[in-house]
Amino acid sequence: MSDAAVVPRETIEETRPRRSLVKRALAHPLVVTGSIIVLVLALVAIFGRWLAPFDPTAMDFGARFAPPSFTHPFGTDDFGRDVFSRVLFGAAVSFKVAFIAVGISGTVGVLLGLVSGFLGGWIDEVVMRFMDVLFAFPAVLLAITVMAILGRGVGNAMVAIAIVYIPIFARVTRGAVISVRGREFVTAARALGQGRWRIMLRHVLPNALGPIIVQTSLSLAFAILAEAALSFFGLGTQPPEPSWGRMLSEGRSFLQQAPWMGIFPGLAIMASVLGFNLLGDGLRDVLDPRSSR
C-alpha cells in the first residue's frame, strides 16, 4: 500500500478547496498588486531604520529646504532633516499603530459579533444597539473625542482608532455568524453535546472567517489613514518622532517654499492605504464571490 492511500479522505477533501483558494487569490490581479505594495511597505517599515541614509531627527540648518537631489531624494525640511529618511522611519510608526489598533478592534469586535450572532436574543439586542450608538459618531470625530479623554500620544491614538473600528468588526462578524449558525455541522456539534464556546470557536468562527479577513485588510487601510489624520491634527505621534501625518502638517506651512515636504509623506500614506484596500477588495472577490461591489 502506498503512503498516499493511508491519508484519510477528509483531509484530502478539506485541503483541496483551501489550496484552490490560495491559487485563486494568487491569480487575482487586485490581490497580487495589493500584496506587492503591502509587502514592500512592510519591509520598509521593518528595515527602514537600516535603509535610511540619515538620522531622521538630525538637523542641518545649512541644508534647510533643499530640493530633492541625489543626496536627499525627497529633499529636506525646515530643520534641514532628510525627508526620505523620515518617510522611511514613519512607515514603522504607521504600520505599528495600524496593526495594533486593528488587532485590538478585531479581537474585541469579532468576539462581540460572534457572541451576539450565535446566541441572539437579548445579548444580541444589547450588543448591537451599543454598536449602533458607536456607529452614529463620524469616525474622525469619535477618534478626536477619545483622544480628548485619553490625552495626546501614539499609544492613545491606537486605542482611539481601535474603538472606532470595533462596531464594524462586530457587524461583519455577526452577519457571517448568522449565515453559518443554522448549518448542519453546527447542529451536529450541538447534538454531540459540545459546549457553546467550543462550537463558536471551533466550528462557527473558522467558517465565518472570509468576511473578517477582508474587513481586516480594509480596516488596516483606514487605520493608517486615521493615525495620519490624528497626527496631522497634533493629537497622535508627538515630535520629534517622524510620522507621515505629522510631517504633512509641518509641511503645510511651507507649501510654496518646499512642496516636497507635503508631497512625499502624503504619497506614502496613499500607497499604504491603496495597498491594503486593493488587497481587501481582491480578497473579497476571492473569498466571497457573491458579494457584488
Binding site: 459618531f137 463620524p138 487601510a221 495620519a228 493629537l235 507635503g262 508631497i263 500614506i269 496613499m270 484596500n277
Partner: protein, 316 residues
Amino acid sequence: MSFRYLLQRLGTLLLVLFGVSLLTFAIIPLVPGSPARVTLGVMATDASVAALEHKMGLDRPLPVQYLSWVSGIVLRGDFGDSLINGKPITEQVRQRLPATLVLAFAALLIGLLIAIPSGILSALRPGSARDLGVSIMSQIGVSIPDFWLGILLILLFAQVLHWLPSSGYAPLSEGLVPYLRHILLPAATAGVISGSIMARFVRSAMMEVLGNDYVRTARAKGLNERVVVRKHVLRNAAITIVTIIGLQMATLLSSVVVVEIIFAWPGLGSMALTATLQRDYPVLQASVLLFATSFAVINLLTDLSYVLLDPSVEYA
C-alpha cells in the same frame, strides 16, 4: 409603509440618541482633571476650583448632571457655556451650523456630479477603458487622505495658480462670488473623495439592473438605448443610489470635519478640534452631539426612503 414599522424605527432612533447623549455626556466625567481648572488655569487654588465646580453644578450626582444637561439642550437648546471664553455655546453653534450644512451639501452635490455620470458610463461599457478609468479613479479616491488632497488643491489652486483663496470663509453678505470662491476648494476636497467612492456603488447598482429580464425585453422591443437607460435602468437603480447616498453621508460628514480643519472653515468640525486642543469640553460635547444626532437621523431617513421607494422591500 406600515405605521408599526415607522414606530419601531423611531423607537430605535430614540434609543440610539439616548446612547449617543450618554456617551457624549460621559466626556466630562471621563477627562482627567476638573473642567473648572481649565477655566481658572493651573495656578488656581483648590478652593477656588471647588467653588467654581459648585457654581457649574459639577459637585452634583452624575445622573442629576446628565438630566440637567440633556433637558437644557432638548427644552431650551442650551448647550452650556464655553470653559475658555464663558460665552453660551448655543451662540457659537448658531453661527457655525449653517457653515457646516452648506459645506456638506456642496460636497454632496460635487460628489453626485462625479459619481452618477461616471458610474453610469462605466456600467454601460464594462471592461472598457472608460470603465477601467473610473475604477482606478475610485480606488485612488478611497485611498487618498482627505487632508492631503486638501493640501494639494491649496498648493495648486491657491498658491501656484492664485485662482482661489487657500482658506477661510466669506459670508453671503459680502456677495455671491467671494462666497462661492471660498467654498469651492473645501467642498471639492470632500466631494471628490465621496464622489469617487459613490461611483463604484452607482456602477454596481446599474450593473445589477442592466442584467434584469425587463431590460433585455426593452432592448428586444427595439427601444433606443437612451430610453432604456433613462426609463428602465436609472429609475430602478435609483433606489440603491438613494441608499448609497445615505450610507455615504457618514464618510462625507467625517470628511467635512477634516476639511473644515484644513481650510479653517468656521463650522462645527473645526470647532470640535479647537475645543479638544483647548480642553474646552462642553464645546466638544456640543459638536459631537450635533454630528452624531444628524447622522442617526440621516440613517433613519435612508432606511425609510428605501422602503418608500421600493414597496417590495420587506420590513421586519
